[in-house]
Amino acid sequence: MINTNEIMDTIHMIDQQHLDVRTITMGISLLDCADANADTACRKIYDKICRKAEHLVRTGCDIEREFGIPIVHKRISVTPIALVAGASEAEDYVPFAAALDRAAQTCGVNFIGGFSALVQKGFTPGDRRLIAAIPEALATTELVCSSVNVGSTKAGINMDAVAQMGQTIKKCAELTKERGGFGCAKLVVFCNAVEDNPFMAGAFHGVGEGDCVINVGVSGPGVVYHALQSVKGRPFDDVAETIKKTAFRITRMGQLVAQEASRRLDVPFGIVDLSLAPTPAVGDSVARILEEMGLEVCGTHGTTAALALLNDAVKKGGVMASSHVGGLSGAFIPVSEDEGMIAAARSGALQLDKLEVMTCVCSVGLDMIAVPGDTSAETISAIIADETAIGMVNTKTTAVRIIPAPGKQVGDTVEFGGLLGSAPVMPVHSFSSEAFVHRGGRIPAPMQSLKN
């Protein structure tokens, strides 16, 4: 029998350190739902999703109960809708979002991702219509998440798309102003978006994927934080080793859940995403891990180095524990969803500029950041351009999920509730980037793209 201490370790991880599987996400291809008639396409989309994901939530709950591991979310990602809807004669793509929303409600999942377009090099008419529909789609649906890929290492940055996304984000905030600009929390602007990401709001089912696949996203900042308390004051070598060992165990659990879900649903297993995803609960924070390494507050000097170590050690520990690793895989730093980040931002220690630097060394990017409601669309576009450039040059995924909170000023707080938490409004630079954003065109792909 397994040693009692090991068993109790696992029980404590789950009961006291918030260990959970963050999400089981079923990726479903909708390429075969394209139709010249938009109503027919929407019906095919609804039917296919409901057919494939019929047992997803129930299976997730069964696994949760049998293994005693909380599985926080059961979700669905689909083929970028711009590709599917592009085949139709429809001008307005909002009904496609409504079809996704209905399907998600029927299946009982809590988010569906894929109201998306990939425009890193240029727009098709379908891409343009989809982007135009995003604000209304996110305001009139509850569970639909949207993402737009505006740059990649291979293609460079589509600055026309960057300019347009600034406007789109402003419009999203405006249409959902009575909920603090909630629509923006469901919209991600990417560089180097991945095709198998199980995490929302940026999940979509890439065209290189099969018909249906199960991807799992693990979590566990609380477990890493707790483990680090046993190496207080010791050199970084010990810190890295401790994180690796912990990440290994967390990932093995994720792999087990992924295989079990794949077997029971008779759907191929895709990947495990090795991400430390925080929640607003006390004791489940990535910021507190960085502080445990010796920083007074997350955001002070040393934060980037601490995050780099954490991100790398999580991957090294996790990669051996899973047969296929993918998705975003790294530490997330969503401000509103992390209790320690919220506290650091409130105290003024954590600024937007520092967050941007931190995204150079960790998974994803400027995530769940609230800025004043009067921030201009051009400033938001310029923030997106900076973040996209980091991703493009460093051959990594970066993203922006930013909320220009309507009517709010620096010092105010926007409450989203639940796992989306609450975001202290952070200041942006007051100097204009207007002329820069209005140039349009494309920023050419960097030398890093020429690897052949």
């Binding site: 009692t4 696992t10 029980i11 049998e66 293994f67 005693g68 165990r249 093995r252 792999q255 087990l256």
Partner: protein, 90 residues
């Protein structure tokens, strides 16, 4: 064979082991191994069981044990053994 780990945690008092074992026996669950200690007045018992012949679906059994445990201020969990093997063995 459906092997599972049952853990029973709570403040020590008379009859905990008998309570837990009776509960398992009522549902035709065979105990394969038991380890039990008292840590700072806390009763900690870990059992390896075979739930193949159990008269309830596993998820229902888990809920039942949890609820029955609560009536005596005990935290009783049952989890499939695979979880612990995955997390602690290469």
């Amino acid at each position: 064979m459906t092997r599972a780990i049952v853990t029973v945690l709570g403040k020590d008092r008379v009859g905990i082991m008998s309570f837990a074992c009776t509960l398992l026996a009522q549902h035709n669950i065979n105990i394969l191994d038991i380890s039990q200690t008292i840590l700072q007045d806390y009763f900690t018992m870990v059992m390896l069981v075979d739930a193949t012949g159990c008269d309830l679906p596993f998820a229902e059994l888990a809920t039942l044990l949890e609820n029955q445990g609560k009536t005596r201020d005990l935290a009783i969990h049952i989890q499939r053994e695979d979880l612990f093997n995955a997390m602690h063995r290469i």
